[in-house]
């Protein structure tokens, strides 16, 4: 019994793991570059004259239009002298690539400039930064709450599978998950206004002169209803995924083995089941986090929350292309980064994730 002719496994870490992380990061960067390029052309092939969007007056004089186009840099060729991509071209068609809209766009982007809003004449980066902060506040709170509630409910449901607790949690989650967001938001809005909660905006006007804690309390009050809506909508999804994932894990042989080794219920759950059951949750959380920045357009609209989601909705109405372009880029980059984060968390959590 000395030798079995085994193939002794080769050492794999940490070099391969580092390489895998580098490769995934490289792919993420490549995807972002692709999005930057696509994002530019997407808005250039859309019909309609961007310059006219800001001032919706058919009597606008030709000189005024030209002035607007120069202001927003639309007089320059898109990337070359492609007439179809640049229907209203005023200036002469230069072929100097550094003077085309595309390269100006890339250059500005590298300097952190996303252009100027057609509608408000303010820099897009400034508008988005302000809106982004509000969205992260709202959706962040909603996500954290729904993840905590969902995981706890899911664990209880799976642990007490096929009992009243399980069926109760299942019914509540399914219902919460299938509620139309806008409908729940409007319902809660009615309820909130009846009990005197603020139902619109982020803060009461004039609060800025109040002490800082009073301001925070005011924001928290305004946040309550939209956060509650968000939490209810997402809680169901997390509960259902956690429940089924944990039930799968609990039926595995290594759980039975752990029991046979003498581990008690808490030890089995803590040391064996949860880590494995969290793997599918990580994916779902990462995907949802990616869309966090996109905001919950419906919730933000119903509660007039000045977040990214409502700014996208407004920009579409106003054909404010620079704002849309900036928001799209921000959303795409967040989704890509969230996915990268999920990948990296996965390699850390699950040793089976292969380097391939």
């Amino acid at each position: 019994m000395e030798s079995f002719g085994f193939i002794i496994p080769q050492k794999r870490y940490p070099l391969d793991r580092t390489r895998a992380i580098l490769r995934k990061t490289a792919w993420a960067i490549f995807t972002i570059i692709f999005v930057i390029i696509l994002n530019f052309f997407l808005f250039r092939v859309l019909p309609g004259d961007p310059a006219r969007a800001g001032v919706r007056d058919p009597r606008l004089k030709k000189e005024a239009i030209e002035a607007l186009q120069i202001k927003f840099g639309l007089d320059k060729p898109v990337i070359n002298c492609f007439e179809t991509l640049n229907p209203i071209k005023v200036g002469s068609c230069t072929v100097n690539p550094m003077e085309t809209q595309f390269f100006i766009y890339v250059r500005n982007l590298l300097q952190g400039e996303l252009g100027i809003s057609y509608h408000t004449n303010r820099p897009v980066a400034e508008i988005l930064a302000q809106r982004l902060g509000n969205t992260i506040l709202l959706i962040g709170a909603g996500q954290i709450l729904s993840i905590i509630i969902g995981v706890v409910f899911g664990i209880f449901a799976a642990w007490k599978a096929r009992t009243a607790i399980d069926y109760g949690a299942l019914a509540v989650s399914l219902m919460a998950w299938s509620l139309p967001t806008f409908w729940l938001a409007i319902l809660l809005l009615f309820w909130g206004s009846a009990i005197g909660l603020p139902v619109a905006g982020k803060a009461t006007p004039g609060m800025s002169s109040m002490p800082i804690f009073a301001q925070w309390a005011d924001i928290a009050k305004h946040m309550f209803l939209p956060t509650l809506t968000y939490t209810i909508i997402y809680m169901g999804e997390y509960t259902l995924i956690m429940r089924s994932s944990l039930m799968d894990v609990l039926s595995e042989d290594y759980i039975l083995t752990a029991k046979a080794k003498g581990l008690n219920a808490v030890q089995i759950l803590r040391d064996h089941a949860l880590k494995n059951a969290m793997l599918p949750m990580v994916t779902v959380i990462a995907i949802n986090l990616g869309f966090t920045v996109a905001g919950a357009i419906q919730i933000e609209t119903v509660f007039s929350w000045p977040g990214l989601g409502s700014s996208v909705a407004e920009a579409v109405e106003r054909r404010d292309f620079p704002v849309l372009q900036g928001a799209f880029l921000l959303i795409a980059v967040t989704v890509i980064l969230a996915n990268l984060l999920a990948d990296l968390t996965y390699t850390y959590l699950d040793p089976r994730v292969e380097v391939e």
């Binding site: 019994m1 000395e2 079995f4 085994f6 193939i7 002794i8 496994p9 794999r12 595995e252 042989d253 290594y254 039975l256 083995t257 752990a258 029991k259 046979a260 080794k261 003498g262 581990l263 008690n264 030890q267 040391d271 064996h272 880590k275 494995n276 959590l349 699950d350 040793p351 089976r352």
Partner: protein, 333 residues
Amino acid sequence: MTIKQFEKFLEVRGLKKYFEAGRPTLFSREKSLIHAVDGVDLNLRRSEIIALVGESGCGKSTLGLLLMGLESPTDGKVIFEDRDITHLNDDQRKDLRRKIQMVFQDPYESLNPTQTIEQILTEPLLVHHIGEHDQERSERVIKAMEDAGLKPADVYLQRYPHELSGGQRQRVVIAAALVLEPEIIIADEPVSMLDVSIRAEVINLLADLRIKREIAVIFITHDLGSVGFFADRVAVMYLGRIVEIGAMLEVLEKPQHPYTKALLSVIPAPNPRLRHERIILQGDPPNPINIPSGCRFHPRCPAAFDMCKLSDPPMMTLTKSHKAACLLISSGK
């Protein structure tokens, strides 16, 4: 190590486990029951190897889980070292877990994929508060690994299960059982998921452990041919009950129960000249919900006669070390 002598090492008396299987029809009042284990008597001696043989669904795995206390029996008794262990609470059961360990069928499923081999093997020691310090625990782990044939142990310690082959994993599973220094190992089809070339090694390993560590083994299998030669005794199970039990050679050479005869006749023989006629069982595969009347094997038995439908045969003693439950024996046919 002096071994305290017990009158009864492991004794099973009239053990039954019925599972609820819902209602036979929508309007039935009674729920149907799956008779997974239906009155098993078994006696295991210290450092003895019993092969528990039977087809899929005959209740042999359930019997293993009952002995481990992972399922609670419907009726009957399990006595271990003169102590009734049929119904214990978690605390009482925990001490017992050290002494009775289990090896499951699928080494791909029975190891937590997120733990290293070292973590897997150290955990039982931590749970049972064995070993004063890390050094001592690590020595125990390495000893168990070497006994399980994982040499040199330090090559494997930092590996994850997915980096090992099936045979290596099953050795890890066995090492994880050994680390607690058990007195009984219940091995539920431990080789059926392994390559044929690895099977003999794992079986030899278990046979070695009996000599080295005086561990008794209940070897659950559906393949009489591969395990017969290393067991001391063979117990044949059919539909929740042991129908024949005896010393390995006696059962293999002079099988008395028609079911044992059928099982033995279909073991493939490598030499075609030695092939004999195979007994292919007729009739439906057994249904543990509706147990046939009389002898539970009669619908498929090639030798059944009228009495078999009416009378449930008791266990008949053939020799000191051989018993079978068949009416043919008592009727002298």
